[in-house]
Amino acid sequence: MIRAAFLLAMVVMLVAAARSFLPQESSLVGSGATLAFGFVLLAALQSGTLFSGLRMPRLTGYLVCGFIAGPSITNLVDLKLVNGVAIGLIALSAGGELSFRRIRGRLLAILATGGGALIAAVVVVSVAVLAASPLLGFMGEMSWEQRAVVALTMGVVFSALSPTVTLALISETGAAGPISEMSLGIVVVGDLVIVVAFAAVNALASSTFGHEDAGGMTALLWHLFGSIGGGVLFALVLFVYLKLVNLRVPLFVFGMCFLCAEAGTRLNLDPLLVCLTAGLFLENLTDIQGDKLVHEIQPAAMPTFAVFFAVAGAGLHWDVFKLVAPAAVGLALVRAAALYAGGRLGMAASRVPPAERRWLHFALYSQSGVAIGLAVLLKDRFAGWGEPASACLLGGVMVNEMVGPLLFKTALARSGEAGRRAAQAVAH
């Protein structure tokens, strides 16, 4: 820990010294981006080590590091590249870890728990927003019908879960067992449902507020099935590469994820869905073992995750949060209560063993990429109410992003699943 603190101080001092070369007001381009990337990566890694020493998730360290470094770094690092590749790697890893053979017996529990939690969260958060609408300035002049649509849209966005955080924590703690597997299954399926539900409420909100919804149903179908088709294609390319070449796999996968992120967005495909399908296809329909692939791409994944979460932390603006803090904290509490109640109900209905019930719901509270992405989409698509609604949602995401990983890591440790993967490997 002392070494990490020393290294962090050294990196900060070196960058501060370099920054003194040019006047503060001068713009930083070119080398500034390389410098910022190196700084973010090293500072995040050391912050992660520091937090790990304090028995907190490394991921929280990355987030806090980005948050402290502030928005100044967000303009320097090419976020689109890092974000796109990170989401691709995370989705590929999540798909690769999800073996239908292994979770066949728990499929009902996954669907019931995830379904119960999500339905409860969407309903309760929407009702809460609707109930609080007279207090929210941006909804003051809307009709009740419009308020209901806005509340439903916010409810759907705010119910998003986080496969990225879940997978990153399972990977960080080396956890293995029923809770880890079910958590991953729930958050992956849950986010897929949220993405589809968002497309539907987006169409509803567009028609309610008189916006044109380009493409409508055809675009939605292309988005979904095109992404799945793209994922199968990606899996086939990866399969052929692994069978015939099998060299520098992390670099190749990194490049392919970059392609998925950049080309996919332009073709109206969802990079997350493309990479998730690819991972699922490889794990479940080929003789390539997904977990081995995940292990192989780990060297490329770690720096990407560190930068991704640090940059996500830098995207959390304290100034905005201060303005919406009461609403954000209130929303986060309502969401947590709904997820807990709905999740417990689903677990009881599907007869999840009591020992697992105790810890499984902790996987539901974290939020990150998908929620942030959808909140930003709201702001971009709906002038007027989109911006304040997005600010409230991002404030709530900030709370969940900071608290959720801490809770889930504790749950993995207390349930005894943390570190079990290494033990299983030794046993084999």
Partner: protein
Amino acid sequence: MLRVVLGLACALVLAVLAAHPALRRIERRLGLTVLLSTGVPFLALGVVFRLPSVGVLTDDVVADLRPALEFGLGWLGFVVGMQFDVRELDTLPEKSGAVVLVESVIPLAFTAGACALALFGLESEWSLRDALVLGACAAPASPLAAVALARSSGSHVASIVARVTVLNDVAGVAVLGLVCAFFRPTDELSAWKLPHVAWLFVTLGMGVTLGILTYVLVRSAKGLAEEVASLLGAVALSAGMAGYLAISPLVACAVAGALLTNLPHERMHELRASILQLERPLYLIFLLVAGALWDPTAWQGWVLVPVFVLSRVGAKLLGAAVAVRVGPPELPDATTLGIALSPQSPVAIAVIVSFSTLYGGGNARGIAWMTTAVIGGAVLTELGVQAVARLRGGLRFETGALPS
């Protein structure tokens, strides 16, 4: 934009595939080196991608790729520096230092002089800076020299020559460092007003500090993933900081790499292997960008090519003649040694690209000619040397493992 993404993705896939062992086997069978088999196609691809009708590497994309280019230069700097292992150099026979000296200084001085005259003839104004940089590009010799000599002269000679080529690379990079310190790019905006010699200390001090930082980072890493992440971060920070201060990332990272490799670390071989593993794909991507930055249309550059090649190869042969007289007795005859050391090292192209990214804003025309001279010279030298070696027999330039 989609075209740009697809073009760059294709280039990445090709770069990864170009490093496949099967391709290396074909290269070996045909007696080709990496520059001819894949380097030239990637350069050509860069030139084609740059064409307005193709529109993949447009001005904006090239500007966006500048950080990646700097990162690549930094990575190659670490590769060069990490070969400078003092413990290995200590095992060289006596008088080997003289061979390094003559094979670095003579090509440097001759090529710089000849190219200065040519530049003067082409544009009536020449600069010592440009001549020195062309000299710096002349010093590095391809590591293939050792492979070529391994068959005809034995592994001991090959081992000596391998170290000589490493030090030739270091000499080229060192001259670039001096140029960057004493001929600073325009920095009116800069808050630091330092004398030229102070920039030399800044370069060395920064390299040493970053080397120590990298060492502590990789030593404290737990597992391969963390080590790779730390290494990536260290290279990005080093290259970014050097570029930010208008120092060549190649130079600063070479100093850092040299320090790193000479510090005790039980997993240094694995670390070196991690760095070398990415060398070839990075080099090819790097050539792609170099191709896009390169303007081969100016005839003056092509006039400079024969001057550069003839002066450099002549100086390498002269250096070999002197080396055989003053160097260790194991060395082969002067002509064989001279021919073996003639092919250009990839570091020469890295030097000219680093130079052009730092000084491209000023005498850009002259720099474009110099780039043509170095890139064209590398291809021409290799073709010429391959032909001469086949006619003479004895030497066979092919990609292979270097003798340890």
